[in-house]
């Protein structure tokens, strides 16, 4: 049975795609074992031996830098009988020792010591028992991905039109180097992971879901374009299909940017600093490109589960499906490596106005997603969700249309249905 109906003026998604355990299982095999999945950012592991442990596509991994300074990803499971070889969240390791029987690996993943090795029969070869790595690991501008499919296309080819939007992130740093800032927001949402994909670049919900946040901006003196009657905020944004299921909403900025558009919420004291950053941007990139970087907001989805919210801050957000109705979200703030203490403080403060589990908007998004998921319990009686906004339109699609959402679902359907 097709779970996505895509006809000339009709686009519907079958709700079992958001609720059925069988679909969840299928996704694990056909999406998370086939696509490039985000692991982390190179700046999180700077020195040889630096590591972070995390769960990626349901697998425990060690994201680390080896003795030669290369970024590596190891499956965090002992080659002996499977124990996690590293149980700390982060740190710097000379070696990874499995505490169960004492097998020890070096920071390059090689099996270094096996207690009582003499008891193993001939043919036992430590060289064949290094920590396993995913078949493919690659990075684009500091963003590191893995792929469990040895036959997958290259990361560059996979990213397709999303590369342009990752470039816009990197260009905010004078050196092109961005860094993840300390502090992780990790929280669960009792909803299917694809609902957060939709939500992350769905501007149709802004007015109804986030009126308290819009009121906050207004009360703080932020000048907003008022939408004409019948139109949705923010005006003049577009939604784009970037290929391979990736998509973006690309909006005119009204909510400020640490690089580099000042709004009253930042405070008068920060104004000269934001102007200085803007001037550097113009010197380096020229007026036109600087405006492209600094006067638009972009919410990018990299299929299937990476979001870069590039606006009032730069947020890296990824989420792991835990069950058909549950996901774990991890979010970080990203900033230019060279950023001054003042600009960094503005960035972090700006992040928190909207985003995160204590922000003025994200909690309401979580509530919306959980309310959708609760509604999914009736999927057998009410099986279809409607996603046809903008379908009758020729040419450019608005951010409040659903072209970019459809692009995600079309790719999802292609991978699931083959």
């Amino acid at each position: 049975m097709r779970l996505v109906v895509n006809e000339s003026l009709r686009f519907e998604v079958h709700r079992s795609a958001l609720a059925d355990p069988a679909v969840h299982e299928l996704e694990s095999r056909r999406i998370f074992e086939r696509c490039w999945i985000y692991v982390g950012h190179e700046s999180e592991v700077r020195a040889p031996g630096d590591f972070k442990t995390r769960s990626v596509a349901g697998r425990p991994v060690i994201f680390c830098r080896d003795s030669a300074g290369r970024v590596r990803v190891f499956l965090n499971t002992c080659r002996h009988r499977g124990t996690l070889v590293c149980r700390e969240r982060e740190g710097n390791a000379e070696r990874y020792t499995c505490f169960y029987h004492g097998w020890t690996y070096d920071r390059d993943g090689a099996l270094y010591a096996v207690p009582g090795q003499g008891a193993y029969p001939p043919g036992f070869d430590k060289n064949e028992l290094a920590l396993k790595e995913p078949p493919k690991v690659a990075a684009y501008r500091g963003f590191v991905f893995l792929n469990f499919d040895a036959g997958a296309v290259s990361l560059d080819e996979y990213l397709a039109g999303a590369r342009e939007y990752i470039d816009l992130v990197a260009e905010q740093s004078p050196s092109g180097e961005m860094e993840v800032i300390r502090g992780t927001q990790e929280y669960d949402i009792k909803a299917n992971w694809k609902l957060l994909v939709e939500n992350s670049f769905d501007d149709y919900h802004l007015l109804s879901t986030h009126s308290t946040w819009l009121n906050y901006l207004k009360n703080a003196g932020v000048e907003m374009k008022r939408p004409a009657k019948g139109e949705m905020l923010p005006a003049h944004g577009v939604g784009k299909d970037l290929g391979n299921g990736h998509g973006v909403v690309d909006n005119v900025n009204f909510r400020g940017r640490p690089v580099a558009r000042w709004i009253p919420i930042y405070g008068e004291a920060a104004k000269p600093e934001i102007e200085r950053i803007r001037a550097e941007l113009v010197r380096r990139l020229g007026e036109k490109r600087a405006a492209r970087v600094a006067d638009t907001n972009r919410n990018l989805i990299v299929f299937p589960n990476l979001v870069l919210n590039d606006g009032s801050s730069v947020t890296i957000r990824t989420f792991q499906p835990l069950a058909p109705d549950r996901m774990r979200v991890s979010a970080w703030a990203l900033g230019p490596k060279e950023e001054s203490a003042t600009a960094r403080a503005v960035r972090l403060d700006s992040f928190l106005t909207f985003y995160g589990p204590g922000g003025f908007a994200t909690p309401d998004d979580i509530e919306a997603l959980e309310a959708v998921q609760a509604g999914m319990a009736a999927w057998r009686e009410v099986p279809w969700s409607v996603m046809s906004r903008g379908m009758a339109k020729q040419g450019e699609q608005l951010n409040t249309d659903e072209l970019h959402l459809r692009a995600f679902w079309i790719q999802w359907d292609k991978l699931i249905s083959r």
């Binding site: 969240r89 800032i181 300390r182 502090g183 992780t184 927001q185 990790e186 929280y187 669960d188 949402i189 009792k190 879901t209 009126s211 308290t212 946040w213 009121n215 906050y216 009360n219 703080a220 774990r328 970080w332 703030a333 203490a341 960094r344 403080a345 972090l348 403060d349 992040f351 928190l352 106005t353 995160g356 589990p357 204590g358 003025f360 994200t362 909690p363 309401d364 979580i366 509530e367 919306a368």
Partner: protein
Amino acid sequence: MGQADLAVTRAQIEDFLYREAALLDAWQLDEWLALLTEDATYRVPSNDAPGADPRAALFTIADDIARIRARVTRLKDRSAHAEYPPSRTRRIISNVRIVGEEPPRAEANFVVYRFRRNEDVRQYVGHYKYEFRVVAGKLLIAKREAVLDAMELASLGAVSFIL
């Protein structure tokens, strides 16, 4: 008055914290605002960076007084969907210790139970760090930080009410 007369006692701090907890549990948020100085801060650090500075690390909440007031305005609005209908909370405050005198500083353990319809109880466990100021003879909160013990928010989800 001698120095001893100016010192704030633990009993005073406890009374104050119990009153604050009662106001927050009753959603009397305007009355709660009256317990804060004009430059008060309210912070909840990220679970993996409990000792960090919000100017250099990502927090869950890092409000100045303007943001605290805006937070209250938001929470009183029926369109603050995450807290509408409002959750029920019950705060247990314990192990109150005075940790500084000028200005008065105190720490306390907390458990905040949070209930929503058709949902299992969520238990927010951690410790508070308070800095007080005496303004016109009244004890007010100048700094308020809630540090959660959970390694990550995980099933606690959002911190959509005032912790």
